[in-house]
Point group: C2
Chain length 192, copies 2
């Protein structure tokens, strides 16, 4: 029984990830998540609460996975940027979840603790590396972190004009990855 | 009469800009645009066609305004990045329109000619400045342009955790602007 309920929860979670990544919070439908997950709609509410709570659970879990799978090292921001680029290239739906969270107006009221925590910790680590002279201090820590994270996602959530311009073949991806790593390297290099 | 119809069109356009910036294409309602614009719903269809066509008209017009008001100069990318930052700080709704266009799945089918045109022209200008040695060539022209444009919008469409962390006061904006200009400067500087 416990095994079955874990399976069901996982199916709901996976279906909710796809539904929210495609349609955001306002556009997502619990009916559709239930159908995709082959789960009872009432069971979704029982396990996860409201649609809003389900979204928050989905985002928080993906933030934690990201933090675990893309280790952050303030002394190696170019390598981090490359690994983040790889992660979002492989999982564009995770970048999409973050974009909905940034874009939908109701989201302004809903800060997600896992994201706040990651930003605070990483900003502190970057600032420390800057004080120790291992990272250039020309760009303040919080802004430096925001820029590096932003460019790692540049092509994971891109307008169709940009993503279709030169396709999504292996050469395009390699060129984009090189650009992201080089850009991060330039941002942390000793003052020019 | 012509004057009245121009006024009505402008009110519809302004109301549509707000509605699409807040809710995207799928979430936008022509009823709401009509109410805000104090215009007849049928008149909106007569002037602009479908909701999708209205969105495209709104985005294209804003792209043309942006191109005019934020002059692009491949030899002065840091200054361009600063001006673009200022524009999106003053008009976050324009950055939001672009994000919806990148995010909504149906958008993949709809390339907007004004955007394609701007990307093609600017990529060519950056490549030329690189060949002439006025812009460093370590990052390919298309990727360099994408990164600079991305930075300029980093805080105009930010998750609530990031935008609330240190508020939106004049000091935060100045620090972010300085970061964007310095980042662009570093991306175009002669190879380190």
């Amino acid at each position: 029984m416990a095994r079955d309920s874990e399976d069901t929860k996982r199916r709901i979670f996976d279906a909710a990830t796809v539904e929210f990544a495609d349609r955001g919070v306002a556009g997502a439908r619990i009916d559709r998540i239930a159908a995709t997950a082959r789960a009872n709609k009432q069971l979704i509410y029982a396990y996860f609460g409201s649609k809003r709570e389900l979204f928050e659970e989905v985002v928080s879990t993906h933030v934690c996975r990201y933090v675990e799978e893309v280790p952050f090292d303030a002394d190696r921001l170019p390598e981090y940027a490359g690994a983040a680029f790889d992660y979002f290239t492989k999982h564009p739906e995770i970048a999409h979840l973050g974009s909905w969270h940034a874009l939908e107006p109701e989201e302004a009221e809903h800060r997600i603790p896992a994201i706040e925590q990651a930003i605070r910790t990483r900003t502190r680590l970057v600032a420390r590396a800057q004080r120790a002279g291992r990272v250039d201090g020309s760009i303040a820590a919080e802004e430096l972190l925001a820029l590096v994270n932003t460019f790692a996602r540049t092509w994971a959530v891109a307008t169709p004009e940009r993503s279709l311009l030169r396709g999504s073949g292996a050469r395009s991806i390699a060129r984009r990855r090189a650009a992201v790593v080089e850009a991060a390297r330039r941002l942390v290099a000793p003052k020019l």
